[in-house]
Amino acid sequence: MSPEQQKIFEVVKAHTLKVLIDLDPAQVTIEKSLSDLGANSVDRLEVVMNAIDALNLQVPLTALQGVRDLRGLVDLLGRYAERS
């Protein structure tokens, strides 16, 4: 991961742990999906929207549809961060 991607991953990880309050931080790795970590549909949206908000990005909801795991999410947020 580039330093920019690492920074985005840390933001996503922090929000994952805020929503999935009893999750062991060591479990949150880039190849996992939020579903793998026990997130329900609302939890997933909460993590993603709060990370987008913390990074101050504008990301249309349709852009999130193909995201399969945290790597995909970090890549997507990275592309929008470059544009902003």
Binding site: D22, E46, M49, I52
Partner: protein, 430 residues
């Protein structure tokens, strides 16, 4: 009403500005403790209104961590369910979890298909709505996704049904300030008709925004005059100097149960709802009605099958509204006749503030604690009673060995409701 159709109260729980559990709430009542404080002008909730009985120290996570290990494990899912939801939902959960364990239901099979759940109250989280509006505007539409669930009052039913394992009937019930009594009324009908064996009723707390508080002030319903910098003296039910309602935060929950269910599981009965009424005046205004309130009290007495003379004590609606308190005095005289001179009267709102939708359930709990504890709590700030013919509790707790009490709840829109409450048999034998 026949003895078998009374509904038992087998569990109680409370969150209030005068006590965060049954024991401290009972002590607060006996001492006439005041929960009203000066509001923080920066809190966003205060403009015209500067006093309130608010829950400043409550934090669900902290409260949960103090539960005994077994109970904490039973309610392990509650922390995640209540994460990023409304404060009102967390108060409701805290009160309901107390009532549930107080009734010994954590040792029952879970989930429980015979357990109903009613959340009493409407428009419970107006401050949450206001904050989410602000967030949406400030952050260019990046809204909190959980808002789609949490803005519904009925989300409290969903959250608590998951925490308690309730799989019987459930819904919210609204009747403005009479919501608590309306929720109890609905649960009593379910239990009497056999729809459900037991039912948790939560009087949910209201999180008002500045808009609701200022609107109450504008129509003259809320205290916003000379007691604005004297919080301990602001709430004064039945006193000539009263200026209006002082709002409060809190929640109360009870477990109601059929006689059959009590017997089959050997539950301990704390008190009984012997009679109950919920009637409309046929208008939509805030104006209280002597005839309507008297009719609610008489209907509840008839439902219980007792005469007014058997009521030892009335837990009045007593909201510290000059017109509301005057109207209730006249209604008590009309419903009780000559007996109105003998019955003791107090108002729990003088201590806790007016906890809106929660107040009916909180005041049922206050009434049972007083009947079982053999006392009547003081009326705070009652220096010049507005009615010399009625028997108001004074500035100190009084002894009381009565068996029956009444609790009144009235609401904007012409809602009138009364409960007849009977002391538990075990307590009567002692």
């Amino acid at each position: 009403m026949d003895r078998n159709s009374s509904v038992a109260v087998t569990g109680m729980g409370v969150v209030s500005s005068i006590g965060m559990d049954l024991e401290s709430f009972g002590r607060g009542l006996a001492a006439g403790k005041c929960g009203v404080v000066q509001l923080d002008p920066k809190s966003g909730s205060a403009s015209e209104i500067q006093v309130g009985a608010v829950l400043r120290e409550f934090a669900f996570e902290q409260w949960h961590s103090t539960l005994p290990g077994e109970v904490r494990s039973f309610f392990a899912s509650s922390r995640k369910i209540l994460n990023n939801t409304t404060e009102s939902t967390r108060w409701s959960a805290c009160a309901a979890m107390q009532a549930f364990t107080n009734a010994g239901l954590q040792s029952q099979r879970s989930p429980d298909d015979a357990l109903g759940l009613i959340i009493a109250g409407s428009n419970l989280s107006q401050e949450y709505v206001a904050q989410n509006w602000s967030r949406s505007i400030e952050r260019a539409g990046r809204i909190n996704p959980k808002y789609a669930l949490s803005f519904w009052d009925s989300n409290q039913v969903g959250c608590l049904s998951e925490i308690l394992g309730a799989r019987g009937p459930g819904c919210t019930v609204g009747a403005a300030s009479a919501s608590g009594n309306a929720g109890l009324f609905q649960a009593c009908q379910w239990i009497r008709s056999g729809v459900v064996d037991r039912c948790v009723v939560v009087g949910a707390g209201s999180e008002f925004s500045r808009l609701e508080l200022d609107a109450f002030a504008m129509i003259g319903a809320a205290c916003h005059g000379r007691f604005q910098n004297d919080p301990e003296r602001a709430c004064r039910p039945f006193d000539a100097a009263a200026e209006g309602v002082v709002f409060g935060q809190g929640s109360g929950a009870v477990v109601l149960e059929s006689r059959l269910s009590v017997e089959s599981r050997g539950a301990r009965v704390l008190g009984e709802i012997a009679g109950i009424s919920l009637l409309l005046d046929g208008h939509h205004l805030p104006d209280p009605s002597v005839a309507g309130e008297a009719r609610a009290m008489q209907t509840a007495l008839r439902d219980a099958g007792i005469s007014p003379e058997e009521i030892a004590y009335i837990n009045a609606h007593g909201s510290s509204s000059p017109l509301g308190d005057r109207t209730e005095c006249d209604a008590i005289k009309q419903a009780f006749g000559a007996g109105s001179r003998q019955v003791w009267i107090n108002s729990t709102k003088g201590l806790t503030g007016h906890c809106m939708a929660a107040s009916g359930v909180m005041e049922l709990i206050a009434t049972i604690l007083q009947l079982n504890g053999g006392f009547i709590h003081p009326n705070r700030n009652l220096e010049a009673p507005i009615d010399a013919e009625l028997r108001f509790a004074s500035g100190a707790a009084l002894p009381c060995d009565g068996v029956y009490a009444m609790s009144n709840g009235f609401g904007f829109g012409g809602f009138n409701s009364s409960l007849v409450i009977r002391k538990a048999e075990d307590e009567r034998r002692d």
